[in-house]
């Protein structure tokens, strides 16, 4: 077995040192009836690299990969081009195979990139501080709601109808069990909701998203003012973080907590995970934050260095009084994010955002020219909603048969809701060529 260095000679010598005659003797605390005598039946035996590669490659070959077809699916995860150096650097064993930086003298590498990551996230979102990552955008949103409730000791939560439905469900599940009163609004595909009227003296927070699930762009400045006037917090969610290269950051609108899905920068689609939740807030709320925080300090010689800090918020110190139970988070995905963002830099990020928007504008113009297709949005970034003359799920299946992955039917999220069956979310990023767009147009003309 190639991963196990002990030889039979080693094993006997070690057993002799220990003073037992078999490994079984070391398992003597296991109740007799629970001790298995040999390998578990019905499972295969060990395999060489080649056999494993064959097995898994066969499974991989059954999937349609995004890069090989005209591809317009978004809905909270986006197909972007990740520079080759990102992945090459991630594969450095010193990053890949180290643990959470508990011993700062031998993990300055991890700690410094976390400090840089936190800074980048704060800059992008327009906030004061950010943590070292959450599992993903959805779990980060639930943590943000719990944090808001800790801050103002209130119980009511208003979820915008533009919030990603998975985020909504995760909030309903995780905060619901804590007895919070969660008021999720109907899917706001027309971008018509007015949430300020719902805020009252019991409202802990209001959770909004821009671009919304349907691609609408929102300015929450007035909403933040209305919420703050009533002592409520505003949590702004961003599922397409590239949009922050172009649009006003939530911090400038007055957001109290900003949560983003960071997948779009540095991280592949990976069928939904692992991704990376970005979590940022105001200085005054730092001690209520969940998750790890990296801070700057000095060493015994007075040189600048970094450590994990404010850990009295965390489970390993505070146990049941911790701000969260999170331990392992998304370190390596945060590294991917931070490397890609460093490569982009100020100019690259702005340009990437512009290219995304330009491609989406071009595609929207083309689709609007297709008979029966109506664009729902006034404004959008790189994803928008179209209303089709037929059920969107059917159209998507038919196009998939033609080798085009057209977008996300809204009914995939809201299967029971009338009036949404004809809506299709369509995303276009820098990876889409004009030929891809024309293929979608032709495909739609055929199936509609």
């Amino acid at each position: 077995m190639r991963y196990l260095p002990l030889t039979e000679t080693d094993r006997s010598a070690m057993l002799a040192t220990i003073g037992v005659d078999s490994v079984d003797a070391l398992f003597r605390d296991v109740p007799e009836q629970a001790r298995l005598k040999g390998p578990i039946a019905g499972l295969s035996d060990h395999m060489g690299e080649l056999a494993v590669e064959r097995h898994l490659s066969r499974l991989a070959a059954k999937n349609t990969t995004a890069s090989t077809v005209p591809f317009f699916i978004g809905g909270g995860a986006y197909k972007h081009h990740v520079p080759a150096s990102v992945d090459q650097l991630l594969l450095r064993g010193e990053f890949l195979t180290s643990y959470t930086p508990y011993q700062p003298e031998v993990t300055q590498g991890t700690l410094q990139y976390l400090f840089e990551f936190q800074t980048q996230v704060a800059l992008l979102t327009g906030m004061d501080v950010a943590n070292a990552s959450m599992y993903d955008g959805a779990t980060g949103t639930a943590e943000a709601v719990l944090m808001a409730a800790r801050i103002n000791k209130r119980n009511k939560v208003i979820l915008s109808g533009g919030l990603h439905p998975h985020y909504r469900s995760v909030v309903e599940t995780t905060c619901g069990v804590m007895g919070m009163d969660i008021r999720a609004q109907a899917p706001d595909w027309k971008n018509a909701e007015d949430l300020s009227a719902l805020i009252d003296g019991e409202t802990a927070c209001i959770v909004v998203q821009t671009p919304s699930l349907f691609g609408h762009l929102r300015d929450f400045t007035a909403l933040c003012e209305a919420a703050h006037a009533k002592g409520a917090l505003v949590i702004v969610v961003v599922t397409e973080v590239v949009s922050l290269g172009l649009l006003t950051p939530p911090g400038e609108m007055g957001a109290d907590i900003v949560v983003c899905e960071g997948q779009s920068i540095g991280n592949g689609l990976n069928f939904g995970g692992p991704y990376v939740g970005l979590f940022a807030t105001r200085d005054k709320y730092v001690r209520q934050m969940p998750g790890r925080l990296c801070g700057q300090t000095v060493d015994a010689d007075g040189k600048r260095g970094f450590v994990l800090t404010l850990s009295t918020r965390e489970q390993h110190i505070r146990r049941e009084k911790a701000t969260s139970n999170i331990c392992t988070n998304s370190g390596l995905c945060a590294l991917a994010f931070t490397i890609h963002l460093s490569l982009l830099g100020e100019q690259g990020l702005t340009q990437l955002a512009q290219v995304n928007h330009a491609n989406a504008v071009t595609l929207a113009d083309k689709l609007e020219a297709v008979k029966g297709v109506k664009l729902v949005n006034d404004g959008f970034f790189n994803e928008f909603t179209v209303k089709l003359p037929k059920k969107a799920a059917k159209v998507v299946s038919k196009l998939a048969e033609r080798g085009i992955l057209a977008g996300v039917p809204v009914s995939r999220f809201y299967p029971d809701m009338e009036g949404l069956e004809d809506l299709l979310l369509v995303a276009s990023t820098e990876v889409n060529s004009l030929e891809d767009m024309d293929a979608l147009v032709r495909g739609l003309e055929e199936v509609l």
Binding site: Y3, L4, M14, I18, F27, R28, V30, P31, H46, V52, L59, N63, L89, F95, L96, T97, Y99, T100, Q103, Y135, D136, T139, V170, T174, V177, M178, R218, L244, G245, T248, E261, N270, F271, G272, G273, R292, L293, Q296, T297, H316, R319, E320, A322, N325, T328, G331, T338, L343, L344, G345, Q354, V355, A360, V361, A364, F380, F381, L405, D416, E430
Partner: protein, 517 residues
């Protein structure tokens, strides 16, 4: 003096260096000082070449655009060098033994990385039509089958993002099952003193109250201590097995039975499942729910703090409440149940995560599992336990073992052997760093004083262990010989000496700020 060619010295000159040698740059040859990426800003440089936008027309619906972000600009070579230099400031399994107890720092096979990067897994979108991702769903199904068969458990929830998230999943299932039984008054969770911090934190996260079970003298939890706490308000016990002292709980069956008889459930923290995989099935111990850290037992890389993956196996009693989404194998292939209305008789308690779970980790874990097979996984547990016991047996005459052996996958020592030396476990750990080892876990578990928890894992060779043991014996002797100063000044050879954590917490500096011009 030997000369190999043309006047070139091939043996070094003997040099005596008085005091510390200071370089002009602050670099120490292979050890490079590295500025923050923001300080490396090279305005005008760019690390990507993007095509020009196809149109300048915008459709932003009247919202405002931003003036700028404030990111630094660098060309690719400088970015690559920055992160490469940073990487060189880390210890890692690839470079040294990393015996961090409870964390299971075993070798991360590169085959797994290669497999996760196959475009058929890495480049598929979670919302593609299910017809186009049949292989991905099949992979999830195969991994689920392995995990269920290895643990003997009938059901599994695949979506949790790490161990703590798995704990949340298990406790939410218990919460839902109790509600369904009409026993919502059961809100007390029993957690042994030795438990990992995530256990009480998770229980509180679910709205439960935590009741601590004291540890016995022998590091185990006794059935009597559990029984003394049982009552009709108890929701469950959260018991780690093997426990955080590295010991198998011998009364685990009796504890499970007692908890069940009192109407509660048994949540097992499976962070240490690597010690028993293939040798013991948790189902045979009476477990109702147990998370499996794929990033421990099944060797998906820790990545400097994640990502992980924490699938939870469930008993029949809890299976109906497993969260959305899940994969089902029907006559037309695999489908994904994403909504309660499609869940048949099941009553999912909700959703824990965006999309479908940590697919990238599933691929790696399955590659690891297939590589080992049922026979190899059993050997994994055997060798992990053998290595830990070898360390225990080889050090217990000089260091103070907290409990009599045998242990499972990790050996627990406490600081009694340092008594009177003035050396603390922290000092001892820092001296290990200069010797080239990542320290063991310190000050955890909390049930012994000054804990030093050593988990070698099965992927360390006997030669490596022998060198490690010799080093530990050397340091122990040094401490006992009264060389306190050596320990207090450690580490000396790292890019940074001991860092001031008090200052970091008192005046938090959590981000870089552009200095005033």
């Amino acid at each position: 003096m030997a000369m190999n060619n043309q006047g070139r010295d091939s043996t070094p000159h003997a040099v005596t260096v008085a005091g510390e040698f200071v370089t002009f740059t602050g670099n120490k040859a292979l050890q490079q000082e590295e500025a923050l990426i923001f300080e490396l800003d090279n305005p005008g440089a760019v690390g990507v070449d993007l095509e020009a936008p196809v149109t300048t027309k915008t459709r932003l619906g009247g919202v405002k655009t931003r003036a700028g972000v404030g990111l630094p600009s660098l060309a690719e070579p400088d970015v690559v060098r920055h992160y490469t230099r940073l990487s060189q400031k880390n210890f890692a399994i690839d470079t040294t033994m990393y015996p961090l107890g409870s964390c299971t720092m075993k070798h991360n096979p590169r085959l797994n990385e290669k497999m996760a990067r196959l475009p058929g897994f890495g480049d598929i979108h979670p919302l593609q039509p299910v017809e186009t991702v049949q292989g991905a769903l099949e992979l999830i199904d195969q991994l689920a089958h392995w995990l269920k068969t290895l643990t003997g458990m009938p059901a599994i929830a695949m979506s949790p993002g790490a161990g703590a998230h798995g704990e949340l999943c298990g406790l939410m299932a218990i919460h839902a099952a109790l509600d369904a039984r009409g026993e919502s008054h059961r809100r007390r969770v029993l957690v042994p003193e030795s438990a990992h911090g995530t256990n009480p934190a998770t229980a509180a996260f679910c709205g439960f109250t935590v009741d601590t079970i004291p540890a016995e003298e022998n590091g185990r939890v006794s059935v009597e201590a559990v029984k003394a706490k049982l009552g009709d308000d108890v929701a469950c016990i959260m018991l780690t097995n093997p426990n955080t002292c590295g010991l198998f709980e011998p009364q685990i069956r009796e504890i499970a039975d007692a908890v069940h008889a009192a109407g509660g459930y048994f949540y097992c923290d499976g962070a240490n499942y690597n010690a028993i995989v293939g040798r013991v099935r948790p189902a045979d111990l009476g477990v109702d729910a147990m998370h499996i850290n794929l990033h421990k037992t099944f060797s998906t890389p820790h990545g400097g703090g994640g990502p992980g993956s924490g699938p939870v196996v469930l008993s029949d009693a809890l299976a109906p409440y497993a969260p959305l989404p899940f994969v089902v194998h029907g006559k037309d292939g695999f489908t994904l149940v994403e909504h309660a209305k499609d869940a048949g008789k099941a009553q999912p308690f909700g959703r824990l995560k965006g999309f479908h779970g940590q697919m990238g980790m599933f691929v790696r874990a399955l590659a690891y599992i297939l590589s080992h097979g049922a026979d190899g996984l059993r050997q994994v547990a055997s060798d992990a336990v053998l290595n830990a016991n070898y360390v225990l047996a080889s050090l217990k005459d000089v260091m103070s073992a907290s409990f009599d052996g045998p242990c499972m996958h990790e050996a627990l020592f406490d600081d009694r052997f340092l008594k009177g030396t003035g050396v603390t476990p922290l000092d001892f750990a820092k001296a290990m760093i200069d010797e080239g080892y990542h320290p063991m876990t310190m000050y955890f578990p909390l049930v012994v004083h000054g804990a030093l928890l050593i988990e070698p894992t099965e992927t360390e060779s006997k030669q490596t262990l022998d060198r490690f043991i010799a080093t530990m014996r050397h340091l122990t002797e040094k401490a006992k010989a009264g060389d306190l100063a050596h320990f207090q000044a450690s580490p000396r050879l790292t890019p940074r000496k001991r860092l001031d954590e008090t200052q970091a917490a008192r005046k938090p500096v959590l981000r870089w700020v552009k200095p005033a011009a």
